[in-house]
């Protein structure tokens, strides 16, 4: 078995705030293999983005990682302990070196007063030993590759002169020009129209194959996940509640929360199917429920409600690929 590109173990992250320590990520573990697309799904406030930012040490100053948390990056048979990288120079390997990130709102991620071209060249100069002339050539080549017409002219323009879809393409071109091993895509298509979203998804799929990189794809849209991911991890209130291959999770969801998400989606092939929302709202991370974090909104737990309220469910062990943290699933396993 090949070594995973990145391996997250028991990641627990808290933020120091005036109201005390807020747990944003709780005991999360997952691996991403080289060339694999892992989809990370969950509602807003579930801790998806904070988890992803941990991989690049991008969380704010007030973040505290638990002592037994570990993130190991394996590049060219060399292991890096990401959480122990302290000096900015050492952190370059995870910040643009082996890992790149594209963000949800491309207008907010480009500097407004520097041309797109200069921003692309700047990071190439930092992360490689190219000359400025070479960097410009590579940048224009990447812009061509992501389908931006007249790239030589676009290279000298500012972010406001690009349309939304075009900006996201430029963002992808910039993130990929340093040839990262892992691309973190944080809701890359949420701000785009469906027709443009289809174009961007197509482009990202082509690029994964061409550059053989891994993607951590964060989204709340299960349709986008079904179309792009190899494996899926579902997050709720900082916990990973279910992981499995995309077919396992979408076709036979095992956690009540995953089922709830799927039932609340409008489906085009069955217009009569009622929309069943997950009742209530996601609780505040300041006030995490005891036992299973989902028990306050779970509609399936009535028979063993007491257990769900008090005991934290462990992961099922029936199959290495499909793991679920739910008492109902573990009970089914035992009987």
């Amino acid at each position: 078995m090949t070594k995973p590109l990145i391996s997250v173990k028991d990641l627990t992250l808290r933020f120091k705030t005036d109201e005390g320590l807020v747990t944003a990520v709780n005991n999360v573990s997952f691996d991403i293999a080289p060339g694999e697309v892992l989809g990370l799904v969950g509602e807003s406030g579930s801790g998806k983005s904070v988890t992803a930012k941990s991989l690049m040490m991008l969380n704010a100053e007030n973040s505290v990682y638990d002592d037994n948390s570990s993130i190991t990056l394996n590049v060219d048979d060399q292991d890096f302990d990401v959480l122990s990288l302290r000096r900015p120079k050492d952190q370059m390997i995870v910040r643009g070196g082996a890992i790149s990130m594209i963000f949800q709102e491309p207008m907010a991620s480009f500097a407004p007063a520097i041309t797109i071209g200069d921003q692309m060249v700047e990071q190439l100069l930092i992360h490689s030993d190219m000359t400025a002339v070479q960097a410009k050539e590579v940048s224009i080549e990447m812009l061509t590759r992501v389908g931006i017409p007249v790239p030589a002219q676009r290279f000298g323009q500012y972010a406001f002169e690009f349309s939304g879809g075009m900006r996201q393409r430029a963002m992808i071109a910039m993130a990929l020009s340093t040839k990262p091993r892992l691309l973190i895509a944080d809701e890359p298509t949420t701000a785009l129209d469906v027709t443009i979203q289809a174009q961007v998804i197509e482009l990202m799929k082509d690029l994964v194959e061409e550059f053989h990189m891994s993607i951590l794809f964060i989204t709340h849209d299960l349709g986008v996940i079904a179309q792009t991911a190899d494996r899926v991890a579902v997050m709720y209130l900082g916990n990973l509640v279910e992981t499995g291959t995309v077919r396992q999770v979408i076709n036979s969801p095992a956690h009540p929360y995953t089922r709830g998400l799927l039932n609340s989606l409008p489906k085009l092939d069955d217009l009569e199917a009622p929309l069943t929302p997950v009742p209530g709202d996601i609780p505040s991370p300041l006030d995490r429920p005891s036992g299973c974090v989902f028990h306050t909104r779970c509609v399936e737990s009535s028979a063993i409600a007491e257990k769900c309220r008090t005991e934290i469910p462990g992961y099922t062990t029936d199959s290495a690929n499909h793991q679920v943290a739910c008492h109902l699933a573990t009970q089914g396993e035992q009987s």
Partner: protein, 335 residues
């Protein structure tokens, strides 16, 4: 066929002149052009299209919040008939009570300095609909209960609420003046799927209970499919197809509608990459392409499409389309 129409636009155009050069013609943004729609009483009318297609402008024109450059909008309920183009003074105030708007972003639409009770009561006070504070309070409480807000909620400020709850407050505010017509502009776009389903169900139950006519604006065809009974598809300021929901999905006639439908990511991981890719982006409404406005992106465009504007015609009962080749394409591609 005599239909009970609440509000109808006939040959409606909305143009916004831009600040031009010193000489020559001033450029004009043609946000809506030649729109014909009729909203039957008690219907849930969906309006779908990409950003920049003019959906919001059309919605605003129907509330007399955007200038009518050409054509007319006629509102007519059992008590009054208004021609919106010439509406002013006391009659306009009266119309404001009958037509209301629910905004897209529930975080921006509620004043942070007013309690929920004051937010919901404001329309009543401004429009002078109640004569005493007790009467106002009674009405606010009744509407709040309908939108599943309790008395405790009424005393709080908006910052204490989640996205779904805030959207329910916006809905309560729109309902409090007992309107006949509500424009819901992307009212679920900013919400998580589980909350989105909840708000859609609430809107549907309000409509069923009170018979309010809704114009539901969205970019998401699957949401429209589940809530609306009639759909109009907009592209670059024009309506290209309109039909009862079921018919639109089973007998799709316009290539743009077809492309929109195929761009929705499928939930089935085994049917990947069948999206019919639409090249390029929506052109500028300042200088729309001649002939059919969709010809620059249409995969089936022919010479005739570039020169001749397609006629807005009825294909079958209630199903209108603006395309030269709908019948030929339906025969060749199947619906």
């Amino acid at each position: 066929m005599s239909k009970d129409v609440l509000i109808a636009a006939r040959d409606l155009s909305v143009h916004f002149p831009l600040r031009g050069l010193a000489f020559g013609e001033r450029p004009v943004v043609r946000a809506c052009e030649g729109i014909n729609i009729e909203l039957e009483k008690g219907s849930f009318f969906g309006l779908v299209g990409e950003s920049g297609s003019g959906k919001t402008t059309l919605g605003r024109a129907m509330l007399k919040a955007a200038p009518i450059s050409h054509g007319e909008i006629v509102y007519s309920d059992s008590e009054v008939t208004y021609d919106l183009g010439s509406l002013k003074g006391a009659e306009l105030k009266e119309y404001r009570k009958r037509a209301q708007l629910i905004f897209q972003d529930p975080y921006a639409a509620l004043s942070p300095r007013m309690t929920v009770r004051d937010i919901i009561a404001e329309p009543l006070e401004v429009m002078g609909l109640t004569s005493s504070r007790d009467e106002t309070d009674a009405r606010v409480r009744a509407i709040a209960a309908k939108c599943r807000l309790n008395l405790e909620h009424l005393r709080r400020f908006p910052h204490a609420f989640s996205g779904g709850q805030r959207q329910r407050i916006s809905i309560a505010r729109a309902l409090v003046s007992d309107p006949k017509f509500i424009v819901a502009d992307e009212s679920v776009a900013a919400l998580d799927v589980s909350i989105q389903a909840d708000v859609l169900n609430l809107l549907n139950s309000i409509q069923a209970e009170s018979g309010i006519t809704f114009l539901f604006i969205s970019h998401d065809l699957s949401v429209i499919a589940h809530t609306c009974d009639f759909v109009a598809v907009m592209y670059l300021g024009q309506i290209v197809e309109s039909a009862p929901t079921r018919k639109l999905f089973s007998e799709t006639a316009h290539p743009y509608t077809r492309a929109l439908l195929s761009a929705i990511p499928s939930l089935d991981p085994d049917v990947r990459g069948h999206a019919q890719k639409l090249e390029g982006e929506i052109p500028s409404p300042i200088n729309p392409p001649p002939g059919c406005r969709f010809n620059t992106r249409c995969p089936h465009a022919q010479e005739r499409c570039r020169s001749e504007v397609p006629e807005w015609r009825e294909m079958s009962s209630g199903h209108h389309v603006a395309c030269h080749f709908s019948e030929e394409l339906s025969a060749a591609l199947g619906s």
